[in-house]
């Protein structure tokens, strides 16, 4: 599967070495959590996941090319 990870500002603030977009080839099906680990991103740092624009979660199984949004830690108002 061709996966594109889109990292939020809050996530890149704590993973400074990573760009806003990370593309990777992953053998499917795989959970978002597994994909994160393969990308070198600790899942505990990801607060919210979107899959192809819809709200998802880290246990969601991905079986197709997908754009995964990763929202990192952020504060209240």
């Amino acid at each position: 599967m061709r996966i594109t990870l889109h990292l939020s500002g809050g996530l890149r603030a704590v993973l400074e070495q990573l760009p806003e977009q990370v593309k990777l080839e992953v053998e499917g099906p795989a959970s978002v959590r597994d994909i994160l680990i393969q990308a070198g991103i600790n899942p505990v740092l990801v607060m919210v996941v979107t899959v192809d624009g819809d709200r998802g979660d880290k246990e969601q199984i991905i079986d197709h090319d997908a754009a995964i949004g990763l929202i990192g830690p952020m504060a209240g108002g």
Binding site: S8, G9, G10, D34, V44, T50, A75
Partner: protein, 632 residues
């Protein structure tokens, strides 16, 4: 010409009714930008040292920033500052909404309030016209009720700030309310307005603002607005707003629960962002020019009644929901509404109520003293306490002083779980295994507030298992490792310059901090508005100057101020977290000293946490260094 600014400071002496308009000094704009910077400098220069927070001479500064009211994403911020009745030191707090832009369109960047009106009063600003009117009929009424009534009386186009009964009754954590749900919540500025008998300020502005490059700003401002909305965080974050972080904060064991006895709330899914959307939300609500409306206006029905309320946002969820252990988002929203109407900061109000309930649980407060039984997990208890605080009735007179003073008066060890720093109650991040966040709370200039530096994400990144560990453990992990303590100072200092910079510019930081709207965008927008070319690092230098100045202000105003004011309550360095992902973790007193020693050294402060003369001179505060030397 000062592009970007309205150009005028409006001074109102509430004792004499005298109104004065003066130009914004060029050097003030150059060296302090606006907003928080103006607040800090004007308080330093104009407040007589030693003035009691409730003395008529205390000064309230209401300041906008150079970007406020312009076509810049989320440019609706207004900054309020004074000498804090909660801490006795520096106070500022900001709010979103539409008040700041309206003030600028009326022609004023800054509003300075001194004196005390002889009777309840409200101030009406309509462009050049400035008038004081009787607020007799509104005194004693709720903050939201008053805003609604004044809009009906004056017209919907007026932008209004109000205080509730808590401000009138000098509750030390009373807030300023605006826009039916936005607050300048922290450090008791609403009580200082109350001490001046000023119930409300209504502003209508119809003028324009000078812009250095109008066409360029229109183009880049629009582009910026769309760019923010295209950020990867937008779709995931905006629907729930800040309430959306509730799950994560629990998962990493940092959610303040049962008066910070622990850091994990098993019922968090009943009070999280999803619950806000599913059970409360009617519509999104945003501030001036905001591309990411985080406000969630909704309706909540509980056993005590039905209310319409904006929120609850994360901090209210954490302190009313977690610290007081409320069982549903409807109950949290109801308590939120009660705070909003009474004019209480939901953070401090929640912490004070939670402290009182723990005192009751431990037998330190009796039913006779309180007037009834009070318990965690009971909305009636929470609302009862909030109402008592706001009216200073019975036990409320003690609670209205805030946890630091209340615990000092009650004694019997109740100070060990009075959760504050410098007299300001702690906001929504339990930090016994988050040393960076702990340091941020310890050194925040207004007291235990998260919006000076939010380091929790970095702490978690430092304490969480490595990716390799996760792979060998099957990708899951329930417990957090002990976070390393050393080496936190530089990061916290960086964050303490970034977040407050937005408060100087008069814009919201969420788009930068949370969505990753890059710093160079702000350099460009700042140039197009003001005509001044300042690099991001140069803007941050202003923020650093303000940081040293606010510390100097507290040094000047608080007898014996220094290191001892930077420690958290004993619970945080004596009691291990009893359960949850951070079970067993806490920071020792020695570890707190490591944090402070590294921080003071990196800041260029002495071992007592006071900026040295050399440091103050380096950041352009030689006059402040001289004043401190002379004990002024």
């Amino acid at each position: 010409m000062l592009y970007g600014y309205a150009g005028t400071m409006l001074e109102v002496d509430l004792t004499s009714g005298r109104i004065r308009k003066t130009p914004v000094p060029d050097d003030l704009a150059r060296d302090y930008l606006g907003g928080r910077g103006f607040v800090a400098r004007l308080l330093w220069e104009r407040l007589r040292s030693g003035t009691d927070p409730f003395d008529p001479e205390n000064l309230i500064v209401i300041a906008t920033g150079p970007l406020s009211g312009h076509l810049v994403p989320a440019s609706g911020k207004t900054h309020f500052g004074t000498k804090s009745p909660a801490t006795g030191g520096y106070a500022d707090s900001n709010m979103g909404g539409h008040f700041g832009p309206a003030l600028k369109y009326a022609g004023y960047d800054v509003l300075l309030l001194t004196g005390r009106a002889s009777e309840p009063t409200f101030l009406v600003i309509e462009d050049e016209s400035v008038a004081l009117r009787s607020a007799e009929e509104w005194w004693g009424r709720g903050a939201i009720t008053t805003e609604k009534g004044l809009k009906k009386e004056l017209g919907e186009e007026f932008r209004i700030i109000t205080i509730g009964p808590a401000g009138e009754n000098l509750v030390r954590f009373a807030c300023i309310s605006h826009d039916f749900g936005r607050q300048a919540g922290r450090a008791g500025i609403g009580a200082v307005l109350g001490s001046k008998h000023l119930k409300a300020i209504a502003v209508k502005g119809t003028g324009g603002l000078p812009v250095f490059d109008v066409d360029g700003l229109y183009e880049k401002g629009r582009e910026a607005y769309l760019k923010v909305r295209a950020k990867p965080g937008f779709a995931g974050w905006t629907p729930e707003g800040t309430a959306g972080i509730t799950d994560w904060v629990n998962q990493v064991g940092a959610f303040p629960t049962r008066n910070f006895q622990t850091s994990y709330f098993p019922g968090y899914q009943k009070i999280n962002g999803k619950a806000v959307v599913e059970h409360l939300k009617i519509t999104d609500k945003g501030c001036f020019c905001c591309p990411t409306p985080c406000g969630k206006y909704g309706k909540a029905s509980t056993s005590l009644g039905t209310v319409h309320v904006e929120g609850p946002e994360y901090e209210s969820i954490a302190l009313l929901g977690g610290a007081c252990v409320l069982g549903s988002i409807e109950e949290v929203a109801y308590a939120n509404y009660v705070c909003d109407e009474l004019g209480l900061d939901t953070i401090s109000g929640g912490v004070v109520a939670a402290w009182a309930m723990e005192c009751f649980e431990k037998g330190l407060l009796s039913e006779e003293q309180v007037g009834r039984e009070i318990h965690f997990e009971d909305l009636e208890s929470v609302v009862y306490l909030l109402e008592k605080m706001a009216s200073r009735d019975g036990i409320g007179d003690l609670l209205a002083e805030g946890v630091m003073r209340a615990a000092a008066k009650l004694g019997r060890g109740s100070d060990s779980f009075a959760i504050h720093v410098k007299g300001l109650e702690w906001s929504g991040y339990e930090s016994r295994n988050a040393p960076g966040m702990m340091l941020a709370y310890m050194t925040a200039d207004v007291g235990a507030h998260h919006n000076r530096a939010w380091a929790l994400g970095h702490d978690v990144a430092g304490s969480a298992a490595s990716v390799h560990d996760l792979i060998s453990a099957g990708g899951g992990r329930d417990k957090m490792a002990k976070a390393p303590v050393a080496g936190k100072a530089e990061r916290v200092i960086d964050l303490q310059h970034i977040r407050p910079l937005f408060d100087c510019l008069g814009i919201c930081r969420l788009q930068y901090m949370e969505l990753g709207f890059e710093g160079q965008n702000y350099e460009e927008l700042f140039y197009l508005v003001t005509g001044r070319r300042m690099k991001w690092d140069e803007l941050l230098e202003v923020s650093e100057r303000v940081w040293h100045l606010t510390r100097a202000f507290s040094k000047r105003e608080i007898e014996g101020f220094g290191r001892k004011y930077d420690y958290p309550p004993r619970r945080f360095f004596q009691e291990p977290i009893p359960d949850g992902p951070n079970e067993g973790h806490f920071l020792t007193r020695d570890e707190l000293d490591v944090l402070l020693d590294e921080y003071y050294q990196a800041r260029g402060w002495d071992a007592n946490g006071i900026p040295t003369e050399k440091t103050l001179c380096r950041v352009g505060l030689a006059d402040v260094a001289e004043a401190l030397k002379q004990g002024k």
